[in-house]
Every structure is written in C-alpha cells, then in structure tokens.
C-alpha cells in the first residue's frame, strides 16, 4: 500500500517531506533499537515511541522509509534534522502502539 494512502487513512501527521509513493507491505513495532537493527526488514514502517537521533540513524541504515511516532510523540530536534538529511519520513499518530499496529495491520492485510 502506498505510504500516502496510509497517511490519509490513519490520519498521520507528516513532519517532514515524505516520499509518499513508497510502497509499504509491513511494519515493525519496537522501542528497542537493537531489535530494529537485527530484525526489521527494509521497506517496513517503523512504529516506536523513541524520539531520539539514533532512531533516524537506524532507520536510514536499515532502509526504513518512514518512522511513525506513537502517542503524539515529538521528535528531538536532532532526530528530525537527521531524518531530513537521510530522507526518512517522520509521521505522528495520536494512537498508542497496540491500536496503531492493529489498524495498520488490518488496513494492509485487507488490501493483500
């Protein structure tokens, strides 16, 4: 599913210039950076409540096109700066992790 459609259907706030044509097939929800480093797949959406700079760095290393900050998370200034440099989209939802994952999972899997 196109990132633009996910943004629209799940009411995500876009904090920087996102590549909205990106095709998203799955997501990875984690607040542990080592798990994301070890297990997340490229082109997955990363769902987290971590808001520090390393999040943008790891997303870029793992070819993760977009990070969704749950609970209306506010990225640290240097996280956003880094995300801009690395072309990682930073998106925000007011939902908590469980509900956001659930809605995204059902949205993507209905389409497949």
């Amino acid at each position: 599913m196109k990132l633009s459609e996910i943004i629209k259907k799940l009411d995500l706030v876009v904090l920087n210039a996102a590549n909205e044509d990106e095709d998203i097939k799955s997501a990875y929800a984690s607040d542990l950076l080592s798990d994301v480093m070890g297990n997340a797949e490229a082109e997955e959406l990363w769902i987290t409540m971590q808001t520090h700079k390393n999040v943008a760095a790891i997303a870029s290393l793992k070819d993760i096109p977009a990070v969704v900050l749950i609970n209306n998370g506010k990225p640290d200034v240097d996280m956003l700066e880094h995300a801009n440099l690395e072309n990682v989209a930073v998106l925000v939802t007011n939902l908590a992790c469980y509900e956001f994952c659930a809605k995204l999972y059902n949205l993507i899997n209905c389409e497949l």
Binding site: D31, L32, L33, S34, M49, Q50, T51, N54, K74
Partner: protein, 136 residues
C-alpha cells in the same frame, strides 16, 4: 515496620527485588490494592534509577500507620538540573539502559504522578537523595 535494602548499580538482574519485597509486605498488611500499586510503581522507578545511573545506593522504607515513606539514596553522578530531569522525555540514560527497556525519560515523572510528596536533592558528582511519601 522498617525495611533497608542495599542496591547495586548496573545489576539489572536483581533490580526490582526491593520493590517486590515491599509489595508482598503491603499485601500482607491488607493495604488497598490501588495504594499498593502507587507505592510500588514509585519505588520500582526509584530503584531502577539507582541501578541505571549510580554506582550503588540504599533504599529505606518505613511502613507506618497512615503513610509509607521511602528514602532512596544513591552514590552516583547526581542530576545536573532536577527540573529538567522531571520533564517528560528528558533522559541521560546510556544506550544499554535503553535496551533494557528503561531510560525513556519517564521515570521521575512516573514517581511524581504516584507520590503524595516527592522531594529530590542532588549534588553533581556525589549522588541523589529522594524522599517519597504516599498516604494510606
């Protein structure tokens, strides 16, 4: 009733043992479960702070007729700016602490939320003293 615990810095495998002991003691005294939860959540966060940041520390808990008092003293780096540390999301935790599931800057705000009285004083380079009271 008075309880005293020695807390070892960086030893996450026993972190929480003090809070667990206090939880059992409060249950035995038939304290209201909602109060127990507030007490042990505040104490557990304080205990984790000692393990995450300090070289070592002590926890003294006084279970009294009308209140529970907790004195948490640590020998660690101290907190440079207590007001800043109290704000949501502010953290100086190391990456390894973050990978243990802590250090997201929610610990002190969580203690404050649960405590009736929460006083904290810190001397940089020496350590931090916290005093938490929850009324029964």
């Amino acid at each position: 009733m008075e309880y005293l615990f020695e807390i070892e810095g960086a030893n996450f495998s026993v972190a929480g043992n003090a809070s667990s002991t206090i939880k059992r003691a409060l249950k035995q005294r038939n304290v209201d479960p909602a109060k127990i939860k507030r007490i042990v959540v505040a104490l557990f966060e304080a205990e984790i702070n000692v393990v995450a940041h300090a070289d070592h520390g002590t926890i003294r808990v006084l279970i009294e007729e009308n209140q529970v008092q907790m004195f948490v003293k640590d020998y660690g780096p101290g907190i440079e700016d207590v007001d800043l540390a109290m704000s949501e999301g502010y953290s100086t935790a190391s990456n390894s602490v973050r990978e243990m599931g802590f250090g997201a800057g929610m610990g002190l705000p969580n203690i404050k939320r649960n405590a009736d009285v929460f006083e904290i004083e810190s001397i940089k380079g020496l350590g931090t003293n916290a005093h938490i009271i929850i009324y029964l």
